[in-house]
């Protein structure tokens, strides 16, 4: 898809002609500098700071982390890539050439853009990165999913009778699955793990649950998820009285019972720890807290008494 977009842009350049291309490139460079510059600084300047915060796009989870980092870093510059790396190749090129700068990549596009940087790179808000996605061995990162134990604790707090859960995971969550199994065992929850390879498998599995399975825990894996599958799975589960734990607060609108996301402050702290640890840092640092939201209407339909701490909208474990 990206290849197709690139060919399409090249075709347009050919159509415009050489003179027009030169003028367009100059104008685009000027405009791009204006667009990718820090929100607080309208004109791009050479990186005078020692930390560059590369934000993949203007979405809440990324910007909240970026904001938390900025409050913690004195000399940091934020670059928002708007989801389009090619449009900001000049900024990326200058950051790559600047060996003294530390780069914090928020989101997968930013992480892929920072893969070629020579300096220290720490990424975050990236679910189950692996080498095939452009992440290098020298890069350090922070896990996007909150700790499995925190998530199950929150769920258990919401439903103390919870004793059997189906964990649906994609191919990239092997490590987290082990963590989840350990956490479930610690909390006395039987955890059925089903690894699926596609969204249709997700549907197939979640529609054929054993009757004693009380809830479905859907892990985030873009390879096996589609919005239709998520919507149908959550609706089907709700119709059959099953609880669901999802990875995005937006999924509560589809019928999810509770969501568990990473806390931006926790993520920022873990990112700074990775920066400070240097080469001794683990490749992927886990999060320590979980930010939990409960869909009160779904909880009411399922007959759950929502504890007071979870009634306030977002609760950080």
């Amino acid at each position: 898809m990206r290849e197709e977009q690139r060919l399409s842009v090249a075709g347009r350049f050919t159509a415009f002609g050489t003179g027009r291309i030169f003028a367009f490139v100059c104008a685009a460079a000027l405009a791009g500098c204006a667009i990718v510059g820090p929100r607080e600084e309208p004109a791009p300047r050479p990186p005078a700071a020692d930390t560059a915060i590369l934000v993949s796009d203007r979405i809440g989870p990324y910007q909240q982390v970026a904001d938390a980092l900025r409050t913690r870093l004195e000399r940091a510059t934020v670059y928002v890539l708007e989801g389009d790396l090619k449009a900001h190749h000049e900024v990326i090129r200058r950051l790559r050439d600047d060996e003294g700068v530390r780069v914090i990549a928020i989101g997968p596009p930013a992480a892929r853009a920072a893969a070629a940087f020579s300096g220290r790179v720490v990424f975050c808000q990236y679910f189950y990165p692996d080498l095939s996605d452009g992440v290098t061995r020298t890069m350090r990162g922070v896990r996007a999913t909150p700790p499995a134990l925190k998530q199950l604790q929150a769920w258990k707090l919401l439903d103390p009778q919870l004793h059997r859960v189906l964990l649906v995971a994609g191919p990239g969550a092997r490590e987290f699955v082990r963590e989840a199994e350990a956490a479930a065992a610690r909390l006395g929850i039987a955890l059925d793990v089903n690894r699926v390879a596609s969204d249709r498998e997700l549907l197939y599995v979640t529609k054929r649950l054993a009757p004693e399975v009380q809830g479905i825990w859907i892990l985030p894996d873009y390879r096996v998820l589609s919005i239709e599958a998520l919507r149908e799975t959550l609706a089907h589960a709700l119709r059959h009285g099953r609880q669901t734990l999802v990875f995005n607060q937006q999924l509560l609108e589809y019928g999810g019972l509770l969501s568990a996301e990473g806390d931006p402050e926790d993520i920022a702290e873990r990112v700074l720890e990775q920066l400070r640890a240097g080469d001794a840092a683990p490749r992927i640092a886990p999060l320590t807290r979980a930010r939990v939201s409960v869909n009160l209407r779904v909880a009411q339909q399922l007959g759950l008494a929502v504890p007071e701490p979870l009634r306030g909208g977002v609760y950080v474990f």
């Binding site: 808000q125 990236y126 996605d133 249709r200 197939y204 529609k207 873009y222 589609s226």
Partner: protein, 744 residues
């Protein structure tokens, strides 16, 4: 060909129309039309309903099959997931086949890999419907479907559905913002699903349901028709109930009942009809009152004259005029005065019925006044009119009026006038009246035809059709003593007896001419003057007799009185006795002549009156015996001294041997009953001798003497031979002089 079909269809329609016309006659029934409309509407509704049901059902079946196929697409798409995720495809396919075996509508399923050439799994229920690989065109058709699949009909009941099997993946950074997913989601085809859905079984079930529904609809509509028929008949019953009264109304009856209930519109019709009938009845009642006699139900004088005028005009044109019969009851006044007006009215009603039975349907019978009936016999000759009159006389002769235990014989006098187109209706009726008076003057219970110049017309007297004028004239004559007698001698054929005269009443006209009683007696009778006439006659006869006796001539007077005297009974006898006493006369010198009809009309009263007068010495003579429909048996019950035989016997004595036999028989019976016989209208000596031979006691007529106007002249009979010489007849009369109240 088409023209033949058209002609055949036209002929069929004509036959159907003829059939309908034959069934319904000339008119169609509203109820029938409503019922037909109901049945046709129900049939059309049924046909439309069934057609709609089948059309909509067909569409519904097709739509349902399509929807079920689409539902099965989603189901099979999901059920086929293990084939694309598991390495144990055979096991997955077997599990899927076991599941699909429960559904007869899924007959063939195939799962292909993305290339369309590799078959991952297949389910065949009985017969395979799909074969070979899924070619590029079929794959493109499935991918290019607007709904994401291809759905086509294999045949009437089987659908083939081909759809890609797809998986979707999100962009890596889309996990944090699912609201922007559509732009960050990738779809990939991993295989194809191809299956055949058979809706035949459902279609059969559906068709059975449609048939059942059609039958149910037919049943419902049948029930609706049955109840609708009942409802229509019930609703229209008040209207159909009007059919019979309206038919009677169309036939001319107006005494029909159109009242009743019904809906508002029908009640309005009934009320309108009722109001119309009431108006018609009022109008008819008014017409009936205007042209009908309320007592007898006959038409009245006004109606009669209108019909007679029409008959006159027709008679004038066609020359076949009819006759007018004036029918006057004999002695009706006596019945009225003796038994009361109610009995008289009852008598008139019964007589009207009798008369109506004797005239034809198209003739006209009217009651003018009192007991006078006038009939118009259309298109009859003189002989026909006489026949009708005889018939009426006959039926009246046989009739007896019953009043309690009393039985009264009622007769009628009939005058006939012919309608010739030349006379005015009033004139014709007057002629009939004059003829009737003549018949009545001749003793009643007979008929007479009008003959111009022979019915008492007098130059100075009122016209014959002016009854009120006659009544005034008679009343004035009584008061002014303008009446007078002429004296008809009666000859004793067997002994040399004393003088005997029959007193004949005459009315002196202002010109001095003497008017026959024929002209005024019917009027006097009708206008209640007959009693006064009787009194005048008694009083005057006694005066004349006393004067004659004073001159030494002890004559005997035969005085004609009306039947009215019988009704007075003792009162009349007292008056007679008073008059006799006042003039010092013996009753034996007075012989009262009564007609046979007057006597037999009420035998009991006649007998009582005769006996009462016999006590003062008076005698009675039964006048004009044998002229009408006499019965010899009456003689046994009437204590009369004389029997005056009808003049017809004397006139025909020489030519009719039967008359001689009858005279002889009457004489023999009279002698057996100790009665004397008197022959009237003896006009020649030969007859006189013959009567003597037959044993008749007395005779009167021109052969003996003409009536004298003054008896105080020398007696004509003095020294006369027993057989008187031939006398000159009345010069002014061609017929025998009329008699007062018969012969007066």
């Amino acid at each position: 060909m088409s023209s033949d079909v058209r002609r055949a269809w036209q002929r069929l329609r004509e036959l159907a129309a003829q059939g309908r016309a034959a069934r319904s006659g000339d008119s169609r029934s509203l109820v029938g039309r409503l019922l037909t409309a109901l049945a046709v509407t129900a049939l059309l509704v049924y046909l439309a309903g069934v057609a709609g049901i089948w059309w909509a059902g067909g569409r519904l079946i097709e739509d349902s099959a399509r929807k079920q196929a689409v539902q099965w697409l989603a189901e099979l798409d999901e059920l086929g997931t293990p084939l694309y995720a598991s390495s144990d495809r055979d096991g997955a396919m077997q599990a899927l086949s076991r599941r699909l075996a429960r559904f007869p509508e899924i007959v063939h399923v195939r799962y292909y890999a993305a290339s369309g050439a590799e078959l991952l799994g297949e389910y065949v229920k009985t017969v395979p419907h799909l074969s070979g690989d899924l070619g590029p065109e079929e794959r493109a058709r499935a991918e290019g479907g607007a709904q994401g699949y291809y759905l086509g009909m294999l045949d009437g009941a089987r659908l083939r559905v081909t759809a890609p099997v797809r998986v979707r993946t999100l962009a890596p950074d889309a996990m944090f913002d699912l609201e922007r997913v559509p732009a960050r989601q990738t779809t990939r085809t991993i295989g194809y699903l191809d299956f055949v859905f058979d809706a035949g079984a459902q279609q059969v079930l559906f068709e059975r349901s449609l048939i059942a529904g059609s039958l149910a609809l037919a049943f419902v509509l049948g029930v609706v028709v049955v109840f609708g028929r009942h409802w229509v008949r019930r609703a229209m019953a008040p209207l159909t109930a009007l059919e019979e009264p309206l038919a009677r109304l169309a036939r001319g009856e107006i005494n029909v009942d159109v009242s009743g209930g019904g809906d508002r519109e029908i009640v309005a019709i009934r009320q309108a009809l009722g109001a119309t009938l009431a108006a018609i009845r009022q109008r008819d009642e008014a017409l009936r009152r205007a042209e009908c006699d309320p007592l007898t139900g006959l038409v009245n004088q006004r109606y009669f004259f209108r019909e007679l005028a029409l008959e006159c005009s027709r008679g004038g044109r066609n020359g076949d005029g009819g006759a007018v019969l004036c029918i006057d009851l004999d002695g009706f006044r006596a019945v009225n005065e003796r038994l009361g007006a109610a009995a008289g009215d009852r008598l008139l009603g019964q007589v009207a019925g009798l008369l109506r039975s004797r005239i034809r349907e198209n003739d006209v019978l009217a009651r003018f006044e009192g007991d006078e009936f006038i009939a118009l016999a259309r298109g009859v000759s003189r002989e026909g009119a006489l026949k009708v009159a005889r018939s009426i006389n006959q039926v009246m002769q046989e009739y007896q009026f019953s009043a309690g235990e009393l039985r009264l014989a009622i007769s009628a006098s009939i005058g006939i006038a012919m309608v010739n187109g030349a006379e005015q209706p009033e004139r014709i009726v007057a002629q009939a009246r004059a003829a009737c008076a003549q018949a009545k003057a001749r003793g009643g219970n007979r008929h007479a035809a009008y003959e111009r110049g022979t019915n008492g017309e007098g130059a100075a007297a009122p016209r014959e059709d002016d009854s009120p004028a006659w009544s005034r004239y008679v009343r004035t004559a009584i008061q002014d003593n303008a009446l007078r007698f002429v004296y008809q001698p009666i000859l004793d054929l067997r002994h040399a007896g004393g003088e005997m005269y029959e007193l004949l009443l005459r009315l002196a006209a202002p010109g001095g001419e003497l008017v026959s009683p024929t002209a005024f007696l019917p009027v006097a009778d009708r206008f209640g003057l007959i009693g006064d006439l009787d009194d005048w006659v008694i009083r005057r006869a006694c005066e004349e007799l006393a004067a004659l006796h004073a001159h030494g001539r002890p004559a005997t007077f035969f005085v004609n009185v009306s039947g009215h005297v019988f009704e007075q009974g003792e009162a009349f006898a007292r008056r007679v006795a008073g008059e006799l006493a006042r003039h010092g006369l013996a009753g034996q010198h007075i012989v009262f002549e009564i007609t046979e009809q007057a006597a037999v009309r009420d035998l009991q009263h006649a007998r009582t009156a005769i006996e009462a007068l016999a006590r003062v010495g008076c005698r009675f003579a039964l006048d004009d015996f044998g002229s009408g429909f006499s019965s010899l048996s009456y003689l046994k019950h009437l204590p009369v001294a004389f029997i005056k035989m009808s003049g017809a016997f004397a006139q025909n004595l020489e030519t009719e041997t039967v008359d001689a036999v009858m005279v002889r028989s009457i004489v023999q019976i009279a002698r057996a009953l100790n009665m004397r016989t008197v022959a009237e209208a003896v006009e020649d000596e030969q007859t006189l001798r013959r009567l003597t031979e037959l044993g008749v006691d007395y005779a009167q007529g021109y052969a003996i003497a003409r009536p004298a106007e003054n008896l105080l002249a020398p007696p004509p009979m003095a020294g006369a031979p027993r057989v008187p010489p031939r006398r000159q007849r009345f010069p002014a009369r061609t017929a025998p002089p009329p008699r007062a109240l018969r012969k007066r």
